[in-house]
């Protein structure tokens, strides 16, 4: 049913028909707006591309990714994968990426630990524990991360004694000084290494199989089976069995203290330590708040219902509260993990060779700003997309199905 138009009153045209004047038609307007917006964006992009091309040409900067195969000629402080002297820029960036992932993985483990402890701590009945947790969260969350990294690196780790006067928590085995933390190196014979790895793989597969079988059996018969304990025994036991069977082919090589440095052993460089500590302490505060909110989001009635069914405290927590809290916790928690990964790029400020630091060095040597920044963005965007895909999958799996 067409209403009699009031469009004509705006003095547009004397069409006088019952139809709306064309430029008041929402559909036409929508198309016009979109064409204008798209035009503006395309024009802006064209101008930027043109300017960049002109600027690059006038500065004699070559374009393309050819530089990745040229020899790098710099050293990196931490190389978890091989980085020989004549390695290429591409290899250097690979090392940076592995370092970023390493910092992120270890940081995530510790941040979760701090976060869960402080989050549960804030809800504790114990006055002192809840206050200490609150102070930790409020203070460490309101101080910039970069400042915390500087603090750990310049104010704590750099004022440690020199190698000659190392702190030795276990004399002769562990050395702590301003060059880092030196731990004994674990040396395995080849057979033992494979046996342990094989034991671990078989153990994990076995644990999964046992838990599946236990669930099936519980659904079918109602009988419970200690699948968790058996699984843990498999995962821990089989590698140890492998170690024993292959004749204990494992030796710990202690680092040796020399005049100016500590030789041998496994070294944790101070940059790595400072970064991991600062990232975990900082992100832990955010995780604490997420955990607290998640637990508070499960209504008290759930606990009461569990108690009235006669469930003891442990299973109430494990079977009723935590699964429901996890629904609220997981999405923001994943975000925090992603934030931690992105924040690990602050490594550049203290010279830890992560992706951004290595990329920055390459950028300074070659001037390939666009290519380097494109590599950064591609990798971090890839991580983000992977995370959000996982998050959406998990969310869909655990979401409450409402009637």
């Amino acid at each position: 049913m067409s209403t009699s138009s009031n469009a004509g009153t705006s003095g547009a045209g004397p069409s006088g028909s019952a139809k709306v004047t064309w430029y008041y038609d929402p559909k036409v307007r929508g198309v016009i707006y979109q064409v204008i917006t798209l035009g503006a964006v395309v024009a802006l992009a064209a101008i930027i591309i043109h300017n960049t091309a002109v600027n690059l040409a006038s500065r004699n900067i070559a374009q393309g990714y050819g530089f990745l195969t040229t020899s790098a000629g710099f050293d990196l402080a931490m190389t978890p994968i091989d980085f020989p002297r004549d390695a290429t820029y591409g290899r250097a960036i690979m090392v940076g990426l592995v370092n970023t992932l390493l910092v992120a993985a270890i940081g995530i483990i510790f941040a979760s630990l701090f976060g869960f402890l402080a989050g549960v701590g804030r809800l504790s009945q114990n006055y002192l524990i809840s206050r200490v947790s609150t102070i930790y969260v409020e203070v460490c969350r309101n101080v910039p991360l970069l400042l915390q990294i500087f603090f750990w690196y310049f104010a704590v780790l750099q004022v440690l004694p020199n190698p000659r006067n190392s702190v030795e928590p276990i004399p002769g085995w562990i050395f702590l000084n301003n060059r880092g933390l030196f731990l004994p190196e674990v040396k395995l014979t080849e057979a033992t290494g494979w046996a342990i790895l094989g034991g671990l793989v078989v153990g994990v597969i076995g644990a999964i199989a046992v838990s599946r079988w236990a669930r099936q059996r519980q659904i079918a018969t109602g009988a419970q089976f200690p699948a968790g304990k058996v699984g843990l025994a498999l995962i821990l036991g089989l590698p140890i069995l492998g170690l024993v069977v292959t004749g204990l082919g494992l030796t710990l090589v202690a680092p040796v203290k020399g005049g100016f440095n500590v030789a041998g052993g496994t070294r944790v460089i101070p940059e790595f330590a400072a970064l991991v500590v600062a990232l975990s302490v900082y992100t832990g505060t955010y995780i604490a708040e997420i955990v607290r909110a998640g637990i508070l989001a499960v209504s008290w009635g759930q606990t009461e219902a569990a108690r009235s069914l006669g469930l003891p405290n442990g299973p109430t927590l494990r079977l009723i509260i935590i699964p429901q809290a996890m629904r609220v916790i997981i999405p923001p928690l994943t975000n925090q993990y992603l934030n931690l990964t992105k924040n690990s790029s602050l490594a550049v400020a203290i010279g830890f060779p992560d992706l951004v630091y290595v990329g920055g060095t390459v950028l300074n040597q070659t001037g390939q700003a666009i290519e380097i920044i494109a590599i950064w963005m591609a990798i971090y965007l890839g991580l983000s997309v992977a995370t959000s895909v996982f998050m959406n999958w998990y969310n869909a799996r655990v979401a409450i199905v409402e009637r």
Binding site: Q34, L38, F154, A349, V356
Partner: protein, 376 residues
């Protein structure tokens, strides 16, 4: 059928009266309930108390008991066992605030600080009248006046932005970021919920791009690539480059926060506005946005707090904010001492804490004040 015997839960005889409970008021009862309820609780209490005492003692010991209070160089602070080096803070204080801004011209940033405070404080107190005038002065007039005062012109000596630094730059980056990103964030949020596919897609790409990359790479991009984007001969000021990067970055985060608020507004509100014949912009501006923004105040303030903390990252592209000034004073041979750097970080941490904590408390208060409509 008699069932008395089966009804085991019906009590037939009286129980002995229990003894009266131990005191439930007073400090002893409070401690029993909150500190030593169970053996585990007692252990936790001891650990907590030890941790707390250790942190407080370390802090007091360093900042007060072992601190050095007077001196003209790092000599005094270099003695073994010395704590905080306060003369260093005193000597450097002006640089922490103004950076390398020329000394005779420092009245200009001081005046800007004063104007900022005079305009901001009444804006933040709901009871003070003339809000509209106040807002116009703060958001439109103040930035122009501040720019002229700081950089020069109209008879004032020109001061290069490379000389600006310290807290001045921290506040400039933060305030510009906040003021520039809020409107952009609102537009992006509306764009992402738009029914027009092209506009929605462009908004999504923009938001997800900026949210997916670390701020450092954005700053590198701003300082390295922005000059390449400009036509030849056009120079972008070194301080303006990170401002652009920070604003776009924050706008993307704000857009998502505001989108959350928009999604929480019931459909009836849109329908009511449409039934009144309001246009799209009037509907959004008068009906939907005010409610949506009110709902997401905590999220918006969170973004602002992260922005404030993230201003420290500009030191990576060689702009010396408060932390940058402290970091560069670290190597001053005159003040070089083991505790100098820690003292500097303590000052920076305290400053940032005061600002961020203040913002979060203010937002909580504002939230409670505005929390009117949803109660029934």
């Amino acid at each position: 059928m008699r069932s008395d015997a089966l009804l085991g839960f019906v009590r037939r005889e009286m129980l002995q009266a229990s003894p009266p409970p131990r005191s439930v008021v007073g400090p002893v009862a409070w401690m029993r309930k909150n500190l030593f309820a169970t053996p585990l609780d007692t252990v936790l209490t001891v650990i907590g108390a030890a941790l707390f005492a250790w942190v407080v003692w370390t802090l007091v010991d360093f900042a007060i008991l072992r601190a050095i209070w007077t001196g003209t160089s790092g000599e005094a602070c270099r003695k073994p066992g010395a704590g905080a080096c306060w003369p260093y803070v005193q000597a450097y204080w002006k640089q922490f605030v103004f950076g390398r801004y020329p000394e005779i011209e420092r009245w200009r940033p001081t005046l800007v600080f004063a104007l900022f405070a005079v305009l901001l404080v009444p804006l933040m107190i709901p009871k003070v009248p003339f809000k509209r005038l106040n807002a116009i002065l703060f958001f439109l007039v103040f930035p122009v006046v501040a720019t002229i005062l700081l950089s020069g012109g109209f008879g004032l000596v020109h001061v290069e932005t490379t000389l600006w630094g310290g807290l001045l730059v921290t506040l400039i980056v933060a305030v510009t970021g906040i003021v520039a990103s809020l409107p952009l964030g609102v537009l992006l949020a509306l764009g992402r919920r738009s029914k027009l596919p092209v506009i929605r897609l462009l908004s999504i790409i923009f938001i997800e791009f900026w949210r997916g990359v670390p701020l450092i790479t954005v700053l590198f991009m701003a300082s390295n690539m922005l000059p390449l984007f400009m036509p030849q001969g056009v120079e972008v000021d070194k301080l303006v480059r990170p401002l652009v990067g920070v604003s776009l970055f924050t706008a993307a985060y704000l857009a998502e926060v505001i989108r959350g608020g928009l999604q929480a507004i019931p459909k009836g509100q849109y329908e009511g506005a449409m039934a009144l014949g309001l246009s799209y912009w009037k509907m959004m501006g008068l009906v939907v946005m005010p409610q949506a923004l009110k709902l997401v105040i905590p999220g918006i303030v969170n973004s602002f707090i992260s922005l404030f903390k993230d201003t420290t990252l500009v030191l990576i592209v060689s702009i010396f904010d408060l932390l940058g000034m402290i970091q560069s004073s670290r190597t001053d041979p005159n003040w070089f001492a083991p505790s100098t750097v820690t003292t500097g970080y303590l000052v920076a941490a305290l400053t940032f804490f005061v600002f961020c904590f203040g913002m979060s408390r203010y937002s909580q208060w504002m939230e409670r004040r505005l929390n009117t409509g949803h109660k029934r």
